[in-house]
């Protein structure tokens, strides 16, 4: 088997996990006899669930059209939340023993509450993290919530959840994030050719698979990638931005690349945002998980958080500069309030920095790929014309 075959074999296995999270979880549960806990995006410290001996699974959007979920949430909620309640109503959540969340996006809370009504036998625990990060008293408040989680999980999983166990889980997750970041760095530098779909598989599967098992796959994959083929140099380099909580459809990524582009970087949740930040490895693990929450927003700012000193748009412009991306496609999940609210700030900065960009709204059902292709091509036209400007001048 050559290197490419080996890469494909690993990616194939991870693609299977990414496309069937509940199948993976059911098999894991059968094998281990332990609990599967659904955790909701975007700031949940999975380390605690892992340290409690359960499988933390970041609940994914399901591709199925919304059916029974329509009787739980109106159609003007984001695709992720509608899919969650639909999966609950259509009994796809049987594999989970409980659900935990820390984020307080208004749509997510509505969905979690509807889920609580629909499947009352499954505990749904909210340890609401204060979204405003500027106040001197917020860290102490977050620490209390981390401790609440620790207490609730210890009780629910009948686990000790000792400092050492948490520290071991933190180390495993940091390693996972680090390896994924190395792959990102290789992609950014153009040293490897990894498609958007493949990158998504790597991150998405890390949200599902037991972290130790995922680390084994990445351990095998990284050296193979390092010796692989570089990305073609003649493609337009793009940065993908946004798309909170759930992954954009892979077909959309394929289409964008088919137009003659290469995705060099992103700040998608099912992307760099998810793996950008490590938990401090030393000292009190509860303090470290508290710190992680704040660090995440300074590393890759998120408009679901409220922080006066941090600006997503600045981060975006900086990242584009660092990766050499020639344009940005903002992927906005329809009805995603925190993203809609922040979009004009992003647009202003991209215009100010003269970075060509395109806004694409995605929906749970219906992806008008051909229409979108025309818009992507128009963006590429702008980028190419800009490249020619110095020649034409």
């Amino acid at each position: 088997m050559n290197g490419a075959d080996k890469i494909n074999l690993i990616l194939g296995e991870l693609a299977g996990v990414a496309s069937d999270p509940h199948g993976y979880a059911a098999a894991w549960k059968q094998e281990t006899g332990r609990k599967v806990i659904g955790v909701f995006p975007m700031n949940f410290p999975s380390e605690l669930v892992h340290a409690a001996g359960a499988l933390p699974l970041v609940v994914q959007e399901d591709e199925a059209p919304i059916t029974l979920g329509r009787s739980l949430l109106y159609e003007f909620y984001c695709g992720y939340t509608r899919s969650i309640v639909d999966q609950a109503a259509t009994r796809k959540f049987d594999v989970y023993d409980a659900f935990y969340l820390v984020d307080h996006c208004v749509a997510l809370l509505g969905a979690a509450d509807a889920l609580r009504f629909e499947i009352p036998d499954k505990p749904v625990f909210l340890a609401q993290y204060t979204a405003s990060m500027d106040e001197a008293w917020t860290p102490a408040e977050i620490r209390k919530r981390v401790e609440d989680l620790r207490g609730a999980l210890a009780e629910y999983c009948d686990a000790a959840l000792s400092d050492d166990e948490i520290a071991a889980s933190i180390a495993a997750y940091n390693r996972n994030r680090d390896m994924l970041r190395q792959i990102y760095a290789l992609r950014r530098s153009g040293k490897i050719a990894l498609t958007g779909r493949q990158m998504q598989i790597l991150v998405k599967s890390s949200m599902i698979m037991e972290v130790g098992a995922h680390n084994e796959r990445l351990d095998a994959l990284l050296p193979l990638l390092e010796t692989g083929l570089p990305a073609p140099a003649n493609l337009v380099k793009l940065h993908l931005s946004g798309h909170f909580c759930h992954a954009p459809r892979p077909e959309l990524l394929d289409m964008i690349e088919d137009c003659g582009t290469v995705i060099v970087d992103d700040d998608l949740f099912t992307g760099f945002r998810f793996i950008a930040t490590d938990v401090p490895a030393d000292g009190d693990p509860i303090a470290a998980l508290t710190r992680w929450y704040f660090d995440r927003n300074t590393h890759v700012p998120c408009s679901t958080r409220s922080q006066m000193t941090v600006d997503w748009e600045e981060y975006l412009a900086r990242s584009v500069h660092a990766s050499g991306a020639e344009g940005v496609i903002i992927l906005l999940a329809k009805f995603c309030e925190p993203h809609m609210l922040y979009y004009p700030e992003l647009r202003k900065e991209l215009m100010r920095s003269e970075i060509p960009h395109l806004l694409i709204e995605t929906e749970h059902e219906g992806l008008a790929l051909e229409m979108l292709r025309t818009r992507v091509e128009a963006l590429l036209e702008t980028i190419r014309l800009r490249k020619l400007q110095p020649v034409l001048a």
Partner: protein, 458 residues
């Protein structure tokens, strides 16, 4: 289309009287008080006053005691929508980049913020090449707010409410002081959790109270004046009295036929939500209560032909209030209670300790009607249905407000399980374009017919 059961039944032809509604006369003075408040606010700059822009909870007694003038963002958005003047601000918001699916309160007020920053003129430049043509200048002026000196955000139950001020802060170039109060949702992880009870409730109350103390320190710092605690106690004394009068008056509407309707209470939202705590406020609600008492004595009904008693769940539809009131009245449907009017706005005055009001104030802020679990919301709805003898519930599915829409479908199921009819009204808080009037009418008629059928059968 919503799958909430619309209870389709065979059609009965029952004549509706559609007799004109008797709106309360006493609420008119509230309109004047509110107008005077805004007029005074618009001249704040000329008077050299400090102005705070705030969103969310009724922090006005704090500002009053701090000696600064307060501009409530949602109230301003509601005011524009009620006057049908939201257009220029919303168009400004759209030019600035806001999607129509975004909270229309936020869109309106952020549009105002952009307008406030620009010179009000025939053409208003959005700063990135976006021009808003053809806005008559007096409408632009109507959308202009007195510029802020500081921001305070205190939005319970809705993440958008908090993020909105984060943007306002940025629109003013991140130069103004900004304080945020954060609220936990009253979610109910623990078995003892419930309305006004349990460890979570007390913990959340103390957390918010501590933040209010910090807010007071922030205001002292920025005004350079010590906070006037006596002034706070005094205004909370009046607010507590006014709130109790309002509750007493609401309770009088248990009578059949009801002496006042939801739409009368909507007219009293602004006074209880943001007018100064003083004797005028007490007099206003004393007047409302007296008028209702007299109606009960005289047997005067709000709707002379009252045939149906309904509840209204959700946030208000400011640009359609009058229209909706008429539609329901035309069908002899008395909307008697609502989440927005009955479960909000200093609605538990017994919590306020006049000598030490902060904890009780914090608790009211937590009691925002969008800051409860669905279970609690459903229980409060069923409680009101029983109190007021409700036949049916109208759920306002508010297109751009996920916060007010959360839980509604579950609440509808809870009501249906009790034999209460339900319908969904699709609309919005401050964007009239989301209404489909004919659908609303046919759903209302279907629900009223079902109520008739049930009455005949039971």
């Amino acid at each position: 289309m919503s799958l909430i059961k619309q209870n389709a039944q065979p059609k009965l032809v029952i004549p509706q009287t559609g007799a004109p509604a008797n709106r309360l006369v006493s609420t008119r003075s509230g309109g004047k008080m509110v107008k005077d408040y805004w007029d005074r606010l618009f001249s704040a700059r000329e008077r050299g006053a400090t102005v705070v822009w705030y969103n969310g909870a009724a922090l006005n007694p704090i500002f009053q005691a701090a000696g600064i003038e307060w501009c409530h963002g949602e109230a301003f958005g509601a005011r524009l929508a009620a006057m049908h003047l939201e257009g220029p601000a919303q168009r400004m918001g759209e030019e600035y980049g806001y999607n129509q699916e975004l909270c229309s309160y936020a869109r309106t007020t952020l549009g105002c913020a952009v307008l406030t920053q620009k010179e009000a003129a025939k053409y208003v430049n959005a700063g990135d090449g976006a021009d808003v043509p053809d806005i008559p200048s007096q409408e632009v002026l109507a959308s202009k707010l007195p510029p802020p000196d500081l921001f305070v955000n205190a939005y319970a139950g809705c993440s958008t409410g908090q993020q909105w001020d984060e943007i306002s802060y940025r629109l003013f170039n991140k130069e103004l002081p900004f304080f945020k109060v954060s609220y936990p949702l009253l979610w109910g992880n623990k078995a003892d959790a419930g309305y006004l009870r349990g460890e979570e409730w007390m913990e959340a109350s103390r957390y918010v109270a501590a933040q209010i103390h910090k807010l007071i320190e922030f205001l002292e710092f920025h005004t350079g004046r010590p906070f006037d605690w006596d002034a706070l106690r005094e205004s909370m004394h009046y607010i507590k009295k006014a709130a109790q009068l309002r509750l007493d008056a609401l309770a009088l509407c248990k009578a059949t036929p009801t002496p006042a309707v939801f739409w009368d209470w909507v007219a009293s939202i602004a006074p209880i939500n943001f007018l100064p705590g003083n004797q005028d406020l007490v007099d206003y609600f004393a007047g409302v209560k007296a008028e209702i008492e007299q109606r009960v004595i005289d047997g005067v009904a709000a709707l002379p032909g009252e045939r149906y008693r309904l509840a209204f769940d959700g946030i208000m539809n400011w640009n359609k209030v009058g229209w909706l009131a008429n539609q329901f009245a035309d069908h002899d449907a008395a909307v008697i209670c609502g989440r927005y009017t009955h479960s909000s706005f200093w609605n538990e005055p017994h919590l306020i300790d006049e000598d030490d009001p902060i904890l009780g104030m914090a608790q009211h802020y937590l009691l925002c009607p969008f800051n409860h679990s669905t279970k609690t919301l459903g229980e409060l709805l069923l409680r009101d249905c029983e109190t007021y003898g409700i036949d049916g519930v109208v759920f306002h599915a508010t297109r751009t407000c996920r916060s007010a829409s959360n839980g509604q479908m579950v609440m509808a199921k809870m009501a249906q399980a009790r034999g209460i009819q339900t319908m969904v009204l699709e609309g919005d808080v401050a964007d009239a374009s989301f209404y489909k009037d004919e659908i609303l009418m046919s759903r209302l008629e279907a629900m009223l017919e079902t109520i008739d059928v049930r009455r005949r059968n039971f």
